[in-house]
Symmetry: D2
Subunit: 453 residues, 4 copies
């Protein structure tokens, strides 16, 4: 029997660990996705780049033609909304587990942002669609969710605030106030991804609706703000290193007396924190697996570079110099172990929901971006000046991965949470030790041996 | 249904990854082993230590009573020779796969060298039993293998040579020469583990029997040398840092005109290299999993230390100082990912034999000891002076783990092999890229876009 | 007596190490420079940024007004061409040693590219002025050097080639051919810094003039190519992590049958390699010291961020979380030790010329950029999203520092050279050991002690 | 003029940095010391090792003859008590600054513990002699200090306590109580270095004399306890990775109603904390410089190993494999920069006393041992099994260096102090930024430029 292409494009041993947990549908979809990304998406990168105008005005008003074509192809192939699990979203979802989608996300990571968009699995749309599907009213489904599911519109998640340490959500200053049948939104956000896109139809805006509530996790609400509502001012695109990531962008936005109908409230007053909590688990796994795809692709590029006869120096291949072979071995080792780590987190979500997988998600969240950055940096170095240029995907890949050590909570937050969680094992360990000491005492007596002081 | 103790003593998410690959027998055996190591072995450590004489002469003539007792208990529980798979050794083995035994090896690692000995799974006996079981004659089975399987004798594997860079086996200088019906052995070995034990009955000695063979992998043979044969001189115990690891030890040995019958040849003339190759794969996985057990146990000790109210300084728990919580999180993350890496290597051996798992074994071999050293070093630091003393297992654990970066080939050898193996992917990657470029060209033409130069 | 501001803005202990090696002029100049950079340059950064047009055309045709003003102020203060030592260039230079200028370069690094430009000490002009001053003809001095020394023009050093592994200078493909009284240049370069600047007057172009010479270090020559010569095509600005570094830029350039008079040859035929060798030593030290200035400034920014009451999360200052304090301590330690390393290299150049300081320069070259990248990355992380944005200097600083692991030879080249240089100590060490063994033998005999085997 | 041997045995560029700060006496003494260590001490190591009995009883009753001989030679050469600066101890000291002695301590580090002992500069005697010289009464000088200065006796500093987190000195439990004309000492110490030596004459014991004092830094006193006083029980030697470091040892000691005359109190009641504070600064620098000597010597050994033709594998020198050359380069770089760091700390002590050099001492304290451990570990790895054996100094060197990350305060304490000290710069930095913003505002106005929001 022919082996599955995952063994070649991902890893034979990782595939062996999970193969028997994949449904026939998942196996077939994964195989189709591998072919799609490598045969359709990667060859389209240069075209897409050329189709994005350099002009600072037009950049933000462009729907890239080749991406639109890819979206059509993907949907025809059944490669669409793969992130949305039928188990949780029977109405809209596909029959894939988190574990199954995780490997697909790795493949998407090889194809860059464009691959995710082509199969309608781009952040922040994915998380927004989950929020709307899970918490939205039927009216919200019809008006906002369905066009997103169809890839006709895009969306933004408006949480991070300028001038505020918003990794602590209780610091949020944006105000969400009810006035009659309307909600009034005032706030100053930035790094709102996707808000620059001409197709962006809505912002899910987090703000404080009840700042005096004694439960500080009930002070926040989320409302749907149409992107074209009066008072929504996109101030400027924020940079990621020197990239503007047009046309999606990561925008600074001011909401100035923006008025929306009360029906735009999501889930209910004071439910903002609950929504963002629910939104994060699987999304983090997706980011991690895409990062692993990036790293894996970067290592493929590095191997090609160091074996390229045109790049010999002093009569030798690059791989014959210095520490290149060792670096490749370490990169490979780190990719393999990071992948298994994230897959085990995905499986844990399938078995115990995101709440039962906080440890595994948290570990993946702080381990994977740093790992991927290291691999991509190593590959960049092998490419010399070309590695930091616009002529390979490496430099931009690095910049995007770097944001993941900050987004959804900086590394330090996750590291502290995992460490604190370990400390909670102390009482059980102390009991275990006490029992051991009891038995030790008995044994010492039995053998007439004196313990040291 | 009650969860398996592996979820507590190993890791819930790792267990979830492999549980459905475990037979009922394996699950039950693993549960028994967990109980045995924690209830019987760990409480016996201090007694064992006290029963080993300090006197430099007597140390090497001692069979530690409490270890003998543990061996009896273990055998009664069916916890015996767990490393020997029935699949490969139907006559002697137990019905466990490499994957199943791997988790057991982790548990043994928590109990130190004594745990492995108690269940008759100590290196180098395990590898020697495999060699004899696979390649030995019926007479060799009866005379040498059966007492080892019964735990009545112990053994040594005599390969590393003093004055020789013997990580390249073709450098070996020990001579194995036939004279009539006898084989004459002359050589100078060191770091021969287990040779100090009073129960050590045999040395498997690697030497050159055909030094002029043009195929340098056919120059070596292995013979069984009785430990008490005339001409076998145990020169001294070699140190591992300041430890002598009595009573097993790691000895310097001179073979001076040692004569054994021709029937002591293992497998055949010139088969030495073949034998050592076959011996290494699963053994490396065992070492790795035991190392992970060490690391996991060290982290448990660290957590207890930093939450110990008696160790507060400046009014705070140790964990409230500095970077302790972060270190614990990183240790946990590294243990989790290393374990998955080794488990996937073990599964790969089950699926594709050691030959089909060289990549996974090689990665595990260079990743795991360094990881475990880092974890144990971190725990030592938390213990202060006590951490480097004889009063916790940490310092000796560290010293033993340090040898694993050298034994069975130093890290660098494995790193180079993994790196070189990756380089072999270059032609396939180049083909993939060429195909991509073809499609890219077509797309650029289709959209009338000019590629950059 | 008031202490020198270097003790505050650099480091008291580093200053103590070198103070007595500074002339009164150097002390005074350094003090003026510290004031100039902090009082004049840093407050002008935002203005300069705003004065650079976003329009992709106009960006490259702009002389930033505030920078022009700063240059005037600097020259009036006597802060001009500080890199050019009177010892080597009595006609043009200032009376500063390498060691003295090194600390000034650190201060310039705090002020970014603009600070260096303001005092006419920007790469690549510095190296080019040295080349022209040392090797140029009187005519070349008058026509090309003097305007550069006056800060009226700028220049490029055209060495790196696209499609070529040009870290091995013998791979260079650009052709430099004599035809009658003219030299014809054909070649394809990229990452030619400064070539985008509207004031760029000349390119020093390295090419092969004698490709068949058996001495491969005599095949190259360098010619002065006027930036506006027919056949000089600036293809595009190359990116550095998305930055275009306008208006200087790092350009891709094609030289197509560019004709210059024979008098534009620098030093002589076949002297290209000699020139680039001479050019590199002090320049590397300048880069290193500026990098240390970057790192030091980044750490200052980090300290301000983590003590900013507006950035508290969960009721605590950022520095009260996680590993921030430890990170700051490590950053400080690495900055202090890197600075001493580079200062000792600068002193070594003063004492033994660049040739006698190859070891120290090589070590600084591979140690410092990685160190500075780590510090800046740590500071970025403390700033969260703002850290990777255009609103702090950190992200661009990081990107520029990253190029230094590639420019002037990638890290690996320098690491190998330093390692190989150490290996050359082997014979001397072996002799020392042999002598020691002789004495040991005598002592063993004297005390009647037997050495181990 | 012939160059000083420091340029060869230490580093030419470091020597260049400090040479003009060395007196003629210091230069001459350093040169003599270099010769003594290499010509006398290193050749005596094996003899000394052989003269130390293996017998667990006799080991602790031995004065090694060859060491005694070396001490005589050293004293005749004027290489004696070099640590004791005439500036601070005019009666007993030698005319050396901290900076001058620092380089000598590096040379001592190359010769191991024996070198320091030979010139009467061993810890803990050095610190104890300083304490007695600075704070001791004339009677104490005569009875305890003079024999130590003569190298006739040895001593211990009894501070660390078992069962107590004694890196916080206020946790100390040992009681020091006055009864009439006597002081009664009760306590339980461990890791008391030097207490095993048959020549050990006195313990300086830290304990609580006034546990209820509201100033917790006035609760402690230090008394001189004769090593042979009734009630002083040396329980056992504590291990350091299996080493017992006989005959000095690091002992567990119980003081049970030990009575000494009141005149044995040092300096005064409640002065214990003051004494230990004063004791630490220069001692830390000595440890650091000796560690650098260890690292430097280990790198010399590594270079010899990897260039040894007898250690070729697969037909190549070790240095031709893998990452060896790169490792050597990195080790060299780290040694060079660590040395400069410590020298600058030593100079700072000379300029501003230990109090004015806390930052520099603190940085050296946490940077150097980790650096040296890494270098020695790298060298060990190059030696394979021999590296961890008793046949090279590397393994024991590693173990001793490892204690330095714990002794005199664990790394974490120093890292936190340095980080906190940096945070204190925040107000000054904030002022500097505020001034910059003022000027920026003016400039923006001057140029009519609008700042971004």
């Amino acid at each position: 029997m022919a082996s599955h292409p995952a063994a070649e494009f991902i890893s034979p041993s990782a595939w062996a660990m999970v193969e028997d947990k994949f449904s026939p549908y998942a196996k077939e979809t994964l195989a189709k996705l591998i072919a799609f990304v490598h045969d359709e998406v990667l060859p389209a990168q240069k075209v897409a780049h050329a189709q994005l105008p350099a002009d600072p005005e037009k950049r933000w008003k462009t729907v890239i033609p080749v991406v639109a074509e890819l979206k059509g192809k993907a949907r025809n192939l059944g490669l669409w909304n793969l992130f949305l699990s039928k188990t949780h979203y029977p109405e809209y979802g596909v029959p894939l587990t988190n574990l199954e989608y995780a490997l697909m996300a790795e493949i998407l990571g090889r194809g860059g942002q464009m691959a995710s968009e082509a199969v309608n699995c781009s952040a922040p749309d994915t998380g927004n669609m989950e929020v709307l599907a899970r918490y939205g009213s039927p009216e919200q489904h019809k008006k906002w969710l369905v066009p997103l599911l169809n890839g006709e519109t895009r969306s933004a998640f408006s949480m991070t605030e300028r001038f505020v340490a918003s990794s602590d959500a209780t610091n949020i200053r944006t105000s969400i106030r009810r006035e009659g049948n309307e909600i009034v939104v005032n706030g100053h956000k930035w790094y709102i991804s996707g808000a620059g896109d001409p197709r962006c139809a809505l912002h899910l805006v987090l703000g404080k609706s009840d700042p005096d509530n004694s439960d500080k996790y009930r002070q926040q609400s989320i409302v749907i703000v149409p992107a074209n509502a009066p008072g929504v001012k996109v101030v400027r695109p924020m940079g990621v290193f020197g990239y503007d990531d047009a046309p999606e962008g990561h925008c600074e936005i001011i909401y100035e007396n923006v008025r929306v109908p009360v029906s735009n409230l999501v889930l209910g007053w004071g439910k903002g924190f609950e929504i963002i909590q629910g939104r994060l688990g699987p999304g983090r796994i997706h980011h991690c697996m895409r990062s692993i795809g990036c790293a894996s692709y970067a290592l493929d590029l590095m191997i090609q570079r160091v074996t390229d006869p045109a790049k010999k120096t002093f009569g030798k291949y690059l791989y014959e110099h210095g520490t290149v072979v060792s670096e490749i071995a370490h990169c490979r080792a780190e990719i393999e172990s990071a992948r298994l780590l994230v897959l085990s987190a995905a499986l844990q979500i399938d078995k115990a929901k995101a709440k039962g997988a906080l440890k595994e998600i948290g570990i993946a969240k702080f381990v994977v971006p740093s790992m991927a950055l290291k691999v991509v940096d190593t590959a960049m170095q092998a490419y010399g000046a070309e590695g930091i240029s616009q002529d390979t995907p490496l430099a931009q890949m690095w910049a995007q991965l770097r944001t993941l050590r900050i987004a959804d909570g900086p590394d330090a937050v996750h590291i502290q949470q995992i460490g604190q969680r370990e400390l909670k094992r102390a009482p059980a360990l102390a009991r275990r030790t006490a029992e051991m000491k009891e038995r030790e005492k008995a044994l010492l007596a039995q053998y007439g041996v004196k313990a040291s002081l």
